[in-house]
């Protein structure tokens, strides 16, 4: 186990390095234009461009440019060229909001998807199954920002059942915090519910024919107990992996669209606003940050798995 953990962590460090190099290449090397001009925003004077070129060392060799960029990212020296605010601070400010969105939505989509998927598998081929399949397909076919905007307009603005966007700190008023997040959680969860319930349905259908399920039935267990203790538990494994990764992606700014539509001011919306200004440093930081997050969560999930299932350690 110890050897597996060490190997997995070394691999993680290697991937982190590669991810940072790729991010650097995307922003500073691949585009066909002067990085200093792009970095300095839409209307920049010649002197600003010169200052940025010097600050980022765009005349140095590439490996030195990479080191300069990474130093800025790691030490938190990065600042927006548009608002002049430090990027690290802004991300830190947005993180609790993004975390609130991600945790609630992840719990919601997992719970609903398990209910839908299990019910669908039990009723496989019948009307309820087909109906849920269509609903799931509609769910994965809707752009989250569109359904979010419509929910915000009809349920928030017109009917007044929910607040019209915005965020309240949990420490300030937990009930209001919850109330403000109901719509964003739902909007974000819809896509994942559609996707997860379909995966779970096919997993359950695969498991239901296993020998141990037949054994459980033969020894006289009730249908409900078989479904929950034997079938569901074994069908959940691949979904839990996905869950970990998707949670990481949402936390790392993957909820950029939901945050923007509901004006949650999280990490994603911070990036979205920077995109509107073509403000490079915040986008660079959020990109790197989100990939780091996913790589980290990936490693944690793998190690947890190896702990739970010894066969994996030997691969």
């Amino acid at each position: 186990m110890g050897r597996f953990v060490v190997r997995r962590l070394l691999q993680m460090i290697l991937v982190l390095f590669a991810v940072s190099v790729l991010t650097f290449l995307i922003f500073n090397v691949i585009p066909n234009s002067d990085p200093a001009v792009r970095m300095s925003g839409r209307q920049a004077s010649e002197s600003t461009i010169q200052a940025i070129r010097k600050e980022w060392g765009f005349n140095d060799p590439l490996w030195q440019q990479y080191l300069t960029t990474m130093k800025k990212v790691i030490t938190g020296d990065l600042k927006s060229e548009f608002t002049q605010l430090p990027v690290g601070e802004e991300i830190k400010k947005g993180l609790p909001r993004t975390l609130s969105l991600a945790v609630g939505a992840a719990l919601l989509w997992m719970f609903v998807a398990v209910c839908f998927g299990l019910y669908s598998a039990v009723k496989a081929g019948r009307f309820a199954d087909r109906f849920l399949t269509i609903i799931a397909l509609v769910g994965i076919s809707m752009p989250v920002f569109w359904i979010g905007a419509l929910m915000n307009y009809y349920l928030g603005f017109k009917l007044g059942w929910f607040p019209n966007g915005g965020y309240v700190e949990f420490t300030e008023d937990p009930i209001d915090w919850f109330y403000h997040l109901i719509l964003p959680w739902t909007a974000l969860a819809i896509l994942f519910i559609g996707f997860y319930s379909r995966v779970l349905r096919s997993n359950v259908l695969d498991t239901i024919n296993e020998d141990y399920v037949r054994t459980a039935r033969a020894k006289g267990l009730g249908e409900r107990q078989i479904l929950i203790r034997h079938v569901l538990r074994n069908s959940m494994i691949p979904i839990i992996t996905l869950w970990g990764l998707d949670f990481g992606a949402v936390l790392g700014g993957g909820a950029i669209l939901t945050e923007t539509v509901f004006d949650l001011q999280g990490v994603g919306q911070y990036a979205a606003e920077a995109i509107g200004q073509l403000d490079v440093p915040p986008v660079l930081a959020v990109t790197m940050f989100s990939a780091f997050f996913i790589v980290l969560l990936n490693a944690i999930v793998d190690i947890l798995y190896a702990y739970l299932d010894p066969r994996i350690r030997l691969q």
Binding site: A18, I30, P31, R38, L137, F195, I256, I275, V286
Partner: protein, 350 residues
Amino acid sequence: MATEPLADTTALQGPAGWDEEAARERVHGLGPWRLGLRRLRRNKVAIAFGILFVLLVLSCLAAPLWAKHVAHTTPEENHLSDTIVVDGKKTNVVGLDGVPIGPQYLKVDGEFFLGADPNGRDIMVRLLYGGRNSLMIGVAAALMTTILSVILGVIAGYFRGWSDTAIRSVLDILWSFPVVILGVALGVALALGGLQLGPITVAGDSLAVPIFIIGLVYIPYMARPVRGQVLSLREKEFVEAARAQGAGPLRIMFSEIVPNLASTVLVFFTLLIANAVLLEAALSFLGAGVRPPNPSWGTMIDDGVERIATAPHLTIVPGLMLVLTVLSLNVFGDGVRDALDPRAKVRLEH
């Protein structure tokens, strides 16, 4: 020998039995494609959505006809200070408070069929032209992903060894970025100045930029399963037979392995178009995709959301078109997958 009991086969001697026999033979004689087609034809829902998609594509292709003969305008033409006659009353296309008129349907002979936007542009015309851009980007990006994924997947799966390791590591790194974030990063980086790929130069505001971005972002999601399939195909007897006949790696890859990937590729291609259209909308919504004044469903929703309180039709209409398109592709792609290989686990993960 003649006295052998015929009891078992006598049931098949009658005319009904013959039919059964003939039917079994017909199924046996069919290739996998014909069988798949037959199974697909039985799936009425998938067929209906497939037809819906074709209709949507055709109506978007007919955009110039509608613009010229019905709406008498172009997607970029402003009618900010124009008036139209609705129910015998003169009405401003864009009210003095800046609120554009809603859907008129056929009241003005099809002009402003779905209303106007705040610049007085005809929504229906923009919707059709925008659909052309969205669909074109979707199809072109899906094509790019498919071709590159097959090439990478086949090379990695066939040669294994260091080329496999190299390709897989690059894909793993791309995989580490959330799709939208990677798309946005590339969009921001390429927005000014565009891209230089060898002899090809792409301007920053051209439609080729979102195509390139979306086509690139989805490669890991398709190349991985393709590689897995190639890994198992290369051990099959027919590949061994080809090798025994003296076929080189190129010939084995292209005439033995790639044709066997066809059903996977077809299913992926359909689902990729759906996802590419969705991602285009997301990137355009964030301002990192299609650049104005080019219409696309994503930019139209982006314009609409700002004014959802006064003119919700600006958001609803392009969104509905988008959902219908993506849904029809998803349902049809699902049907194709079930028909070609019911046991296949091919699906596009986000």
